[in-house]
């Protein structure tokens, strides 16, 4: 599939050029057109809505970005943190939304596993994946960014694991951005009944302070009895605007362990939504966030129990330095009749400077009687007495702070079962901690 339109911005003429260059089946074009109508009709969110009142996007100039241009001529892959020293079952890499590499071990493709560019795999197997796309797991009418992604996504990643197939090595996907680039990637993960897989999804910029825009969606379906470990590491340059809608549907007896690492971007607004859609579904979410400079990261989680006898456990931990700002809003929603629900959410924040700010807002919406649902949130500074104690035993102040930060994250690292992920996040955070007086 070719995309050869010029860089022209998000306006109707550019969209028509984009569509005509893609030659997609009519059902997919219809989906894109409907999302495009929503994009044109919706305003950018403003600070009057509760969801956006702490996230100021008045400096975002959407018209400075545009639809995917001609493919980038250079294949430059920034250092991939999650894949270091890991034997992979497959990998993909993209730059500015154009997939440049897609590999899958023959052993897995022979068993019907599909992994690679969503664009390319849809062109070959559109009928197989049509039901998943027409379900619109992420509704493009939710806001202008979801609509933009629904209309203009390209490249992207698809993982499909057929019934009963267990992939015993991780798959890795890397999305890169060049300075000023745009990533409109979309991720679709489908595990059929009893399937198992681990997907490591990572983003990064060619320049650490590079600007850019990511507007994307991630849709995950964990079939009955299937098991997925999904890791998303957002490590864009500190000039990137990051807008993401991420949603997983876990069916009867399915298990999802979802780990989020948030280190990069200038401003990130992420909606993470998990639906427990069948009895005995089990979801664990681990969030690791570190912000510095003037970064602003805003995460909005929803754990939606639609069936009884399900378990969900969300743990987010964030450390902040300089003048950075973390926002976390979490909601546990339990539908009527969903008895024996066991749901927990927690968000802890460690403030490393006086100017950093954390807003932590947990919430419950319970419509069933026989449930156990609880939540907690904390925000605090590094304890000077602990630093004094450590310095008395020969550590420098910086070493002491690093040790305290490591201890703070240990609870969430203990839950992450993939060594490379734990090491990558730990190393990245250790490197970022500076000395404070």
């Amino acid at each position: 599939m070719t995309t050869t339109v010029a860089e022209t911005g998000f306006h109707p003429q550019a969209f028509e050029q984009f569509l005509s260059a893609r030659r997609e089946p009519s059902w997919l074009t219809d989906l894109r057109r409907r999302a495009w109508r929503a994009f044109r009709e919706l305003d950018l969110p403003d600070s009057r809505s509760e969801e956006w009142r702490r996230t100021d996007i008045r400096l975002l100039r959407l018209d400075r970005f545009g639809l995917a241009a001609v493919p980038a001529p250079t294949v430059v892959e920034p250092e991939a943190l999650l894949a270091a020293n890991v034997e992979l079952a497959g990998r993909t890499a993209s730059l500015d939304t154009h997939v440049q590499t897609a590999e899958l071990g023959a052993r897995w493709s022979a068993q019907g596993v599909m992994f690679g560019s969503l664009d390319d795999l849809l062109a070959e197997h559109g009928d197989l994946f049509r039901p998943y796309l027409t379900r619109r797991i992420v509704d493009p009418r939710v806001d202008k960014f979801a609509a933009l992604s629904g209309a203009c996504w390209s490249g992207g990643t698809l993982l499909y694991v057929p019934r009963g197939v267990a992939i015993d090595r991780p798959l890795h996907t890397f999305s890169g951005l060049s300075p000023g680039g745009v990533d409109l990637g979309r991720t679709l993960v489908v595990l059929d009944e009893g399937a198992e897989a681990t997907l490591l999804a990572e983003t990064g910029s060619l320049e650490a302070s590079g600007a850019g825009l990511h507007c994307g969606t991630t849709e995950i379906i964990v079939g009955p009895g299937a098991r997925l470990r999904y890791v998303g590491l957002q490590n864009w340059g500190t000039g990137v605007w990051h807008f993401a809608h991420q949603k997983a549907v876990v069916e009867r007896g399915g298990r999802l362990q979802w780990t989020i690492g948030a280190l990069g971007s200038r401003l990130a607004k992420v909606n993470q939504h998990v639906v427990l859609a069948g009895r005995d579904a089990d979801v664990q979410v681990n969030g690791v966030m570190f912000t510095e400079g003037k970064q602003h990261l805003s995460y909005h989680t929803l754990q939606h129990h639609r069936e009884p006898y399900c378990h969900s456990d969300f743990l987010y931990k964030g450390a902040l330095q300089d003048r950075s700002h973390l926002v976390w809003r979490g909601m546990i929603k339990v539908d009527p009749g969903c008895d024996k629900t066991d749901a927990y959410q927690r968000d802890d924040n460690l403030l490393l400077s006086e100017s950093a700010r954390a807003d932590s807002i947990p919430g419950l919406e319970i419509e069933a009687d026989d449930v156990r649902c609880s939540h907690g949130a904390t925000a605090g500074r590094v304890d000077d007495e602990q630093i004094f104690y450590a310095q008395n035993r020969g550590l420098t102040r910086k070493e002491a702070v690093r040790m305290i930060v490591a201890g703070f994250f240990q609870q969430v690292f203990d839950r992450i079962t993939i060594d490379s992920v734990r090491d990558a996040l730990g190393d990245a955070i250790r490197r970022r901690v500076r000395e404070y007086q």
């Binding site: 600070s47 009142r53 100017s355």
Partner: protein, 110 residues
């Protein structure tokens, strides 16, 4: 530690663009700055309430006091001092000068 300036003065508008008294928001570098015109003098603050991040310039200007539209926190437009709860910390004040009909702002770090 007091914030200090590292940038140059940047023209943001003309004197005649802003009535006296008056307020507006201007974009300087990667920041939104609330610009005030009171009794013949211009003043500039981060357009940011230190209580919950509200947009100060959308609030009511009374003399040298700007009132955050969200929860009523008040700041002195001349130096960014927080005057009332719920704000307890100053918002960053930037340097302003007038050259001819041009109003220029130099950002302070912080």
């Amino acid at each position: 530690m007091e914030p200090h300036s590292t940038s140059e003065f940047v023209p943001v508008c003309q004197v005649s663009d802003l009535p006296d008294p008056g307020k507006t928001v201007v974009e300087v570098g990667d920041r939104l700055v609330a610009l005030f015109h009171v009794s013949g003098t211009f003043w500039a603050l981060d357009d940011l309430c230190t209580h919950d991040g509200g947009p100060l310039a959308e609030g009511e200007l009374r003399g040298y006091t700007i009132i955050c539209p969200r929860h009523g926190a008040q700041f002195d437009v001349r130096d960014g001092r927080a005057l009332t709860m719920p704000a307890t910390q100053a918002t960053v004040a930037h340097e302003v000068k007038v050259e001819g009909d041009d109003v220029l702002i130099r950002l302070k770090d912080g």
